[in-house]
Symmetry: C2
Subunit: 262 residues, 2 copies
DNA sequence: CAGGTTAGTTTATGGTGTAAGGAGTCGCAA
DNA sequence: TTGCGACTCCTTACACCATAAACTAACCTG
């Protein structure tokens, strides 16, 4: 199920996202046994360990020794909790990318870090991009990217497109790897086993597969003669593909820079 | 919940995906009132109209005047149904991109078509990319892209990265727009209304937002002086961003081509 | 017509998010 | 000191989800 937060009370939503670090003043009633931060941390731990699909209010509550309903005094609903998780996780992103050697190495470092971050917290990729979460760390992360990209000197309207392209690329590339890992963990079937069961069936059902899809066959073949391996989009290739794709993208940005200067 | 198909019976899964068009021979027992194709079509209709979140076995069954359980004689489970939906939908993609004027215009046309396809069937973006569905139309779609990309003359290992980058970009760019539309439909709150409720809160809670996040503020401002509008990532900008991003990407590919030739 | 196979139903199980209401806890004002 | 009101947390309940199991009814083949 896709969740959209903040439908109800935009003010409550924002005050949670931008909540100050320290606890509030003493209030009547029993001492709160939990904090929003503890709940968000527990939720992040659940999602990190078992994936977004396993994130339920009950699971988070159990991890804290409470029931699911106990969380609702701290967090209005699950969608809001996911937003809080998202923003808090983004806070763990590196922020410093020196521009001394120009924007390109900085952007390369940024892309590698963001990719690694997504692989550490794959569930982040599943948070709906529809409405930005508008939390402090989301803006901080955007600020980091823009600081690097401003080094290109491109004008604003172009920079928007470039920022989008870079973001999409990193998200997508990380998403494929994350999905593969998650599937392997969730099903208990390794990628190799999975392909081993399916590749003979392809020829059986596909009826002359090699002739019908020559280019797909060609691109799926492994370059070095490491035989008994028929895995087009495997994690092993993913690093290399990321490198190639990123280089192409950065070359394109350089072309845009050259055009804007010349 | 994220679903992974084909854990159980790889053979059954493949035979469904590659099932021939005509109906099978007569079998004992009552005449089947449904067909796999009818079920898949109904499921696609549900997903197109109400989004992937609304796709339940019950909803599909109701659309066909049956109970949810009736579907299980045709389709082993929901994950498999989603795979069938995915592959069938991909069959609606255009396939012909003449290369007479070179690969670049062909790739531009391809990107525009695929983006439009994703916007017509946003749920396709939510099908897990972990394990390829391995259906006939998925391969056909890959074949189409590779036929265009082969025009670059790039070697295989580079082409893999390029194909990935292009795919990720189009997916990502379409995904943002699709998510925004879906959110607006699901919540009944238009994007304008949503931003109108939140932008003042940003300043209120963000405490000197403009100074803390100068670049985010800068990039969010609208270029033409069309005031009373504070929408950084709106659908309106999306077309333009797509254009810019795609141009950058294609420029990068051209650079790779030049490098490989020179 | 009998047997066996199949289509589709009903029922049941264990999961989900969360609304409603109640029990106990504590700060503060009278 | 007492009690009110605010507060935390629980139990219960509801509507939904996927799907396993058992059952009925339809139909082909012997």
């Amino acid at each position: 199920m896709v969740l959209y937060a903040g439908q109800g009370d935009a003010r409550r939503s924002m005050s949670l996202l931008w909540r100050p670090a320290g606890g509030g003043p003493d209030r009547p009633g029993p001492k709160p046994g939990l904090t929003v931060d503890a709940i968000v941390d527990a939720a992040i731990a659940v999602a990190d360990e078992h994936g977004m699909a396993a994130l339920s209010m009950r699971a988070v509550g159990e991890r804290l020794g409470r029931t699911a309903m106990a969380l609702y005094t701290y967090v209005p609903n699950k969608a809001e909790l996911v937003d809080l998780m998202y923003d808090k996780a983004l806070g763990r992103l590196p922020v410093d990318y020196p521009l001394e050697r120009g924007w390109r190495p900085a952007l390369e470092a940024w892309a590698a870090d963001v990719r690694a971050f997504y692989l550490r917290h794959p569930w982040v990729l599943q948070v709906s991009q529809a409405r930005p979460v508008l939390g402090p760390h989301e803006f901080a992360a955007l600020e980091v990217l823009l600081r690097v990209l401003r080094g290109t000197g491109l004008e604003r309207s172009v920079l928007r497109g470039v920022a989008g392209a870079v973001t999409q690329f990193v998200r997508g590339a990380a998403g494929v790897v994350a999905d593969v890992r998650q599937a392997a963990r969730a099903t208990g079937v390794s990628d190799e086993e999975w392909w081993f069961a399916r590749s003979p069936l392809l020829e059986e059902f596909g009826g002359g597969f090699g002739e019908r899809f020559p280019l797909s066959t060609w691109i799926g073949e492994v370059d070095p003669p490491a035989a008994d391996d028929c895995t087009p989009y495997l994690e092993r290739d993913a690093d290399w593909n990321f490198e190639v794709g990123l280089r192409v993208l950065l070359d394109g940005i350089e072309a845009a820079v050259a055009r804007s200067v010349g």
